[in-house]
């Protein structure tokens, strides 16, 4: 397996802000899991094998109370349903040179943040970029969990609070330039903001989990945008790519 250094480091630097955000969320997860009765090793294993924040927070009480396995499976399926959609979208970004074997690896690392960074990149992504992108967030997620589980009071609250916004700042830095230059993306962002706020703040529907909110808003908004602003035909983009070469 050949790893291209430039691609790998560009992945690493895109992964760093995700990693910072993950440390702060995983830290809180570690504290939460140990309080519920899991050992630090068990908390770490849950993080290392799942990589799903909302899912993990929902699973811990089921683990701790020895709830039914079908309840566990069903809740995970519902909370993580959006990843099925994201996997379809991510599958379209892989360079044709990426061997199908790597899909087993990249499917595992397909989180909201990694997905969003990879798919909002122009053109295809290489496997070196994907490995670089996933590495730090995975480490941050694991290390953050252990740190929270073993020593919940090790980081001052202000630092956790400050790290908490890293992910969102990065999202803004990804979306805003596209929204500035492309009217269709601007439209997409605007109606996403409106719909998201409505669901978040409106009574009754605000009980919806974050995972469901992401699915409902992104599917609705993307359908509307696909109708109003369809992208150019494949033939057109192929030509454009040929011209660029």
């Amino acid at each position: 397996m050949k790893i291209k250094n430039a691609e790998f480091s560009s992945g690493i630097s895109a992964g760093l802000p995700i990693c910072l955000g993950y440390i702060s969320v995983a830290f809180v997860f570690g504290i939460y899991a140990v309080e519920a009765g899991l050992t630090p090793v068990e908390s770490l294993l849950v993080s290392m094998f799942n990589l799903t924040s909302a899912g993990q927070f929902a699973a811990v009480p089921i683990f701790a109370s020895l709830g039914s396995l079908s309840e566990l499976a069903l809740s995970q399926a519902v909370i993580n349903l959006r990843y099925a959609l994201m996997s379809v979208s991510l599958s379209q970004k892989f360079d044709s040179k990426i061997s199908p074997v790597y899909r087993f690896v990249f499917a595992f690392c397909n989180t909201d943040e990694i997905f969003a960074v990879a798919t909002s990149k122009k053109g295809f992504v290489s496997k070196s970029f994907m490995f670089g992108l996933a590495l730090l967030p995975y480490l941050g997620w694991s290390i953050g969990t252990v740190a929270g589980a073993v020593a919940g009071n090790i980081l001052p609250e202000q630092v956790i609070s400050a790290l908490g916004c890293a992910i969102y700042a990065m999202f803004i830095a990804i979306v805003l330039p596209e929204a500035k230059s492309d009217v269709s993306v601007r439209f997409c962002v605007l109606i996403s903001v409106i719909l998201s706020c409505i669901i978040y703040f409106m009574p009754v529907v605000s009980d919806m989990s974050e995972g469901m909110r992401i699915i409902i808003v992104s599917v609705t908004v993307s359908l509307i945008c696909a109708l109003v602003f369809p992208v150019r035909d494949v033939a057109d983009t192929d030509c454009a790519e040929v011209e660029l070469k």
Partner: protein, 106 residues
């Protein structure tokens, strides 16, 4: 809970969270040619990123004020064309500083 029981729960959970991500990726290997589906998939990441950011960004730190400052810093730096890491780092610093100031206020 014994470790053996824990492993059973973990196995069920990990299988579900992995298969839900893996199956679509294995089923769809070719580039999709349909224009409507391609358009739909083009907008998904922007929409997902936006939904994940607004409004929760304002509740991502210990006070709405520090989060709002971080949000403003991120927007300004992005408009100025700064890199991802720079934007993220300065937003974190902005939260830290704002909360220090807030602590000193009566």
């Amino acid at each position: 809970m014994s470790f053996g029981v824990f492993i059973k729960y973990l196995a069920v959970m990990a299988s579900v969270t992995y298969l839900i991500r893996l199956i679509p990726m294995l089923l769809i290997k070719k580039q999709i040619r349909n224009r409507f589906i391609r358009s739909f998939l083009y907008y998904i990441p922007f929409s997902v990123l936006t939904v994940m950011t607004v409004p929760v960004v304002f509740f991502s730190t210990s006070s709405v004020i520090s989060a709002a400052v971080a949000f403003a810093v991120a927007v300004i730096l992005t408009v100025l064309g700064k890199k991802l890491i720079t934007v993220a780092a300065f937003s974190c610093i902005a939260v830290f500083v704002t909360e220090m100031i807030l602590n000193f206020l009566p």
